[in-house]
Amino acid sequence: MEHGTTAEPEQRPQTADGDYRRSPREEERRQFRRARDRRNRWTAALCTIAFVAAVAAATVASPGWERVHALFLDGAEFRHALPEVLDGFWLNVRMFLIAEVLILVLGLLVALVRVTRAPGLQPLRLAATVYVDVFRGVPTLLLVFLVGFGLPALRLQGTPSQPWVLGVIALVLSYTAYVAEVLRAGLESVHPAQRNAARALGLSTPQALRYVVLPQAVRNVLPPLLNDFIALQKDTALVAVLGPLEALRAAQIKADYDFNYTPYLAAALLFIAVTVPLTRVADRLQRRAAQRAWTETGR
């Protein structure tokens, strides 16, 4: 069955067999279910309202509420700060998009190197393994510091000097290690029989990988992959420590200047505005993947 069977009976179209009429018993059952659903919706709504009201009351009643309200929730300050923070936020979005493309390409390369078995590639495999181990082990913020201050200090020809570029390099180094591992798990999740079937059709090993294994691997790991993207989107704020005028840095400057923390709230809202839709997409993909897994294994 392709679709789930969770649809309400009421919504199910009746098939054409002309003389069928619902029995009184069935009508009575439907009425009971409708009443129960209605009751459940009311219960859900009332519980939610009560919960939100309790949290709001507890917050407002807290002793420091007056101060917090003035320091974090200043409407005028918010309106004043938002344009500047938004300007900074565009840099976050740019960093995210550039880093994302690089991470996908490099992550795939590292993953592919790690799943190859050719003996000649042993040094590459070793390098990829060491790379993943090291860069997954180092906190991303620490990496931003190391790359941001360490790379220019080498005084090599052609090294970039803009802080945001250095920040992107650090993020790419860190996240490529994670994404490579996710993709590798995906590659290994494809059943060997699939590869064999492709090889039996005469596809070469790279062709089997390109046309049969990789598409399934990506499909399998799309949800965790998207989770990493969401984390990356937030972590672009770590680059603030190197000084480029992105959202957090812009908010920080404004907050220091006005002695008010509302600009931070503005920055937080901007991040949420991007990550929440991404999260919903990830959830939807995850649900679809789960349903596919059920239909593939039978019910």
């Binding site: 069955m1 679709h3 069977t5 649809a7 009976p9 199910r12 179209p13 009746q14 098939t15 067999d17 069928y20 619902r22 029995s23 018993r25 069935e26 059952r29 009971f32 279910r33 129960r36 039978g298």
Partner: protein, 246 residues
Amino acid sequence: MSEALLRIRGLRKSYDSRLVLRSVDLDVAEHQVVCLIGGSGSGKSTLLRCVDLLDVVDDGTVHLGDTELTDPRLDADLVRRRIGIVFQAYNLFPHLSVLDNITLAPRRVHRVPRAQAEETARELLDRLGLADKAADHPERLSGGQQQRAAIARALATGPELLLLDEITSALDPGLVGEVLDVVTDLKQRGMTILMATHEMGFARHAADRVCFLEDGVVREQGTAEQVLTDPRHPATRRFLSRVLDR
């Protein structure tokens, strides 16, 4: 004999826009074995799923003894405790040993003490020829052994009614016999069984009644002898000639 243990009246069920069961009437008396036959997609599995409340019916009623199973006020879990079901794909829990698969429901649902649950389980395994497999995980068992373990799991809670959904369809031909022997043994012990099956030979010697499902209704039903050797309805004849003359 008064009323049958399981009574199905006017059962109707569709998935999305596909009408699977149009109006099914069927009785299973206590200690009877009733076999459902019919082509794939004829609704045999759907019928069993509706009886076990795994699917909500669109219309009609199902009674088990004095209880109307299709009553929406009913706690489905309480009913399912009275019914055992075995699936085509075994559906044993792969992370549990055979013994733990069998004792899970008695211990967690029926609150039977561990020692007692395990004793019952071992007796069952012994009867089903799996005494030495209790500690193994399902993956170590053959298909026939897994299916017998699944039957033991369904029996462990002492159900009044056993539903068997094409339990031999996923098995190698050589392993079908050992599973059907278990069903014959259950019949002799007086178990009430409703089973969907493609094994016509088995249906002929083990079933008290055979029901032929077609186009969402019971086209023909009667004693195994009558339906399988002297079918009245042309659709039954067509179906039987297709499955028997291979």
